[in-house]
């Protein structure tokens, strides 16, 4: 026993002051560096693969960086804000930005509406139907974005898909028109992202103590009143979390658009910022423009994050 403890201590091993530690057992003073030791691997990984690339992204967005510079044929030159000027002067950029915001907002609203109403439904039913819905939702959740995309495209295929047969749409092509293509992607996105909202909100409702609801019912509160005055305030932190997560996920949708609309739709009609940046950078080798788009996305999501932090603060959450 003593041996193992000693070994373990040797493993943790930088405190020779064992005596002192025994006197003040839960002491944190003797271990000023321990938290940093624990944090070191995470900080190394995040610093190298997140912070440094963000710095690089910003840097490239200020340079002239095309195939010539990548291959080392020409020296890189500092362009100042020229890339941003080019981007903001391009009508397509604003169109894509607008499409991204509207599409993401539609996805978030639909996902939350579906997720929350199914969560409430789950609390009203017995175990068997609840398990059925839960398993189906887990299945949709577990489906990788790329297979979800291929399956939905197949379901809505003009020639071989069952949906057009059932709806009697003949050989109507969903991916041909701009709005029908966006609608199809939206359906897939909602399908694979509502389960997270449903399960989280359901867990939140279940965590509300039964006594609180009973007390409200005994005091004569109606179902609606109980929902509005008791449950909604208690669920608010959870609703904030799922809303913010949905905003982030849906704003960054890439695979679905890329696969379902074949790289952004006919003549780029279904482009969103992510796919647009990818096409600019890797398809047309305009890495600087792609990076500038990346920075714009980063700033938008940073703004969302700041709103989130403020909401957390207001709820008095201790970080």
């Amino acid at each position: 026993m003593t041996l193992t403890v000693k070994e373990a201590r040797a493993g943790g091993g930088r405190t020779p002051l064992t005596g002192a530690r025994r006197v003040r057992p839960p002491s944190r003073r003797g271990s000023r560096w321990t938290p940093w030791l624990y944090l070191a691997p995470a900080l190394v990984v995040l610093g190298g693969l997140l912070v440094y690339p963000i710095y690089q992204l910003g840097l490239i967005s200020f340079l002239e960086y095309t195939q010539a510079q990548v291959s080392g044929g020409e020296p890189t030159s500092f362009q100042g804000l020229a890339n941003y000027a080019e981007l903001f002067g391009d009508g397509q950029f604003w169109q894509v930005l607008l499409a991204t915001v509207v599409f993401a907002a539609a996805c978030v609203v639909c996902t939350l509406a579906v997720g929350c109403s199914f969560a409430v439904l789950l609390t009203r039913i017995r175990a068997v139907p609840r398990l059925a819905l839960m398993l189906a939702a887990l299945g949709a959740w577990a489906t990788p974005a790329i297979t979800g995309s291929t399956v939905w495209v197949f379901l809505f295929d003009p020639d071989f898909g069952p949906v057009n047969r059932v709806l009697g749409l003949g050989d109507f092509s969903w991916t041909y028109g701009r709005y029908s293509a966006f609608a199809l992607v939206l359906l897939e996105v909602v399908w694979c992202s509502f389960p997270f909202v449903m399960v989280t909100v359901y867990a939140g409702i279940r965590a509300i103590p039964e006594e609180v609801l009973e007390a409200a019912a005994l005091d004569g509160a109606s179902q609606w009143r109980i929902w509005r005055s008791v449950m909604a305030p208690m669920l608010r932190p959870i609703l904030v979390v799922v809303t913010i997560q949905s905003v982030i996920w849906d704003f960054k949708v890439f695979t679905q658009i890329y696969v379902m609309t074949n790289g952004g739709g006919i003549a780029g009609q279904n482009l969103v910022l992510n796919v647009y940046a990818y096409q600019k950078a890797f398809a047309s080798s305009q890495y600087s423009l792609g990076s500038a788009i990346g920075i714009v996305m980063l700033l938008i999501l940073l703004a969302v994050t700041l709103v989130y932090l403020r909401l957390l603060r207001r709820q008095g959450e201790e970080l």
Partner: protein
Amino acid sequence: MSTVREGTVRTVRTPRIRRPGRLAAEAGALLIAAAVAFPLYWMVLSAFKPAGEVQSTEPLPWTLHPSLDAFRRVFQQQDFGRYFLNSLFVAGVVVIASALIAFLAATAVTRFRFRFRTTLLIMFLVAQMVPVEALTIPLFFLMRDVGDAVPGIGLNTLGSLILPHLAFSLPFAIWMLRGFVKAVPEALEEAACLDGASRSRFLWQILFPLVFPGLVATSVFSFISTWNDFLFAKSFIISATENSTLPMALLVFFKPDENDWGGIMAASTVMTVPVLVFFVLVQRRLVSGLGGAVKD
């Protein structure tokens, strides 16, 4: 928390009013479940249909001639098994490494008070929001440069997929694990310390097993995001197709003239079923894990 208790309390409270409404709700739930599961059913069904039935303009929701042709095509022509193992390896390494690293980091930010602790927490939160896809460009150049120095992790290797995913799953994992580590009472640490356990012994033999359910829930997320990856595989594995992963293999069946839908559906099935099994296995832990994380 238990299902039974909740059920009985609710029935006792309003037995007569609830019943017809509840039956309708249950029927609705079953219908919704069927609709939600339908795309997956259609995927598996189409994978087992013979080629003629898949490419039929009158698709039927069943098949009388199940066939393994599509699967055979997938595994024989496209070296799918290799891609499958690659995907599994990448996701496995990311899950294990991010669980261990996140566990240490979450312990640091919940059980210690130190300068910059709040700053770090906010940074982890902000890091979650970083649009991964936007970093593809700098990561591409980083991997290219690193590859010159350390061949094992440059472009065209599995390392170039593992490292970015590790970085992207860490902030969320740390954020989520925080709640679980916090939930372990301080008194336990004091008791362990009084009994003579060193810090690392407490960490691995007491705290780790207690936080394990949380680690499972967290791992589901890092597994999914890694298994899903399409963009990095597409951008970083340029010429070494033997290091490709499943999503890229799937795209092979898309052809400009006519898609091989049977092959696509069979490949999709092979890619989805392991995740499904994994999800069903950890289902309870996932739900309680999410509850624990959001309750904080």
